[in-house]
């Protein structure tokens, strides 16, 4: 089960486009990429979940971990997600109150950090 990760820069934000399924076996790859971005000095990050087919608590844990890391540098982590099945996971776990969730990368990167 492969997880696709592409990184690009939009308005000084590091945007990670994720494709595939994020579970206990693929989540470490996302975690490593987010750690790498922060260690390189990218503290304003957008994770684009529009290409994600599946997300569970391991993926949520990775995103929470990344949020803590950027916050330690006064940074930000925003999500892009319009899929109801993924938004449902954030709602059940209360994480809609924790992550800014946007409808597009442009909206996520264009807003205030």
């Amino acid at each position: 089960m492969e997880l696709g990760l592409d990184v690009r820069n939009v308005d000084s934000h590091a945007v990670v486009d994720v494709k595939g399924e994020i579970d206990v076996y693929t989540a470490p790859k996302l975690r490593e990429k987010l750690i790498e971005l922060v260690s390189e000095g990218s503290y304003n990050v957008v994770v684009n979940l529009e290409g994600v087919d599946f997300l569970d608590s391991t993926g949520l844990g990775v995103l929470v971990g990344a949020l803590k890391r950027v916050k330690a540098h006064d940074g930000s982590l925003a999500l892009v997600c319009t899929q109801d099945k993924i938004l449902k996971i954030f709602k059940i776990t209360g994480l809609t109150k924790v992550f800014p969730i946007h409808a597009s990368v442009e909206e996520a990167a264009g807003g205030a950090a």
Binding site: V24, F54, S57, T58, G61, K85, I92
Partner: protein
């Protein structure tokens, strides 16, 4: 894990559940499997995680079993920064997505998680 989700998805669809319930079942079973796999890794057991299911006329019962040792104590609900632990989030998902959740844990036998998804007039397409 992807193959498990495909199988569960097929089971759910063939039982007449709508797509939202199919997704609920895939996520819930994946959560239970993840917990079992991580428990096995942490306790070093070589026993595989087993998944079984039973179709009833009015529901599907799925059992996920590991043979690892159950956690000795409850993990802290919130970490020092106020975030829920992965296990707490996982439990919230299991409770919300399945119609019924039963957990049986014993030091020598491991942990059994039983998820029930009801099939009734409202959920059948």
């Amino acid at each position: 894990m992807g193959i498990v989700r495909l199988a569960i998805g097929s089971l759910a669809r063939s039982s007449g559940l709508d797509e939202e319930r199919v997704d609920d079942m895939r996520i819930a079973v994946s959560e239970a499997c993840t917990n079992a796999v991580l428990t096995n890794e942490e306790t070093g057991t070589g026993e595989p995680v087993t998944i079984s299911w039973v179709r009833h006329p009015n529901g599907i019962e799925i059992e996920v079993r590991d043979r690892g040792a159950p956690p000795e104590s409850q993990p802290d609900a919130l970490d020092s920064q106020g975030f829920s632990s992965r296990l707490v989030m996982s439990t919230a998902l299991l409770q919300e997505l399945a119609d019924e959740l039963q957990v049986e844990a014993a030091p020598e036998r491991g942990t059994l998680v039983r998820l029930t998804f009801r099939i009734d007039e409202d959920t059948v397409t």
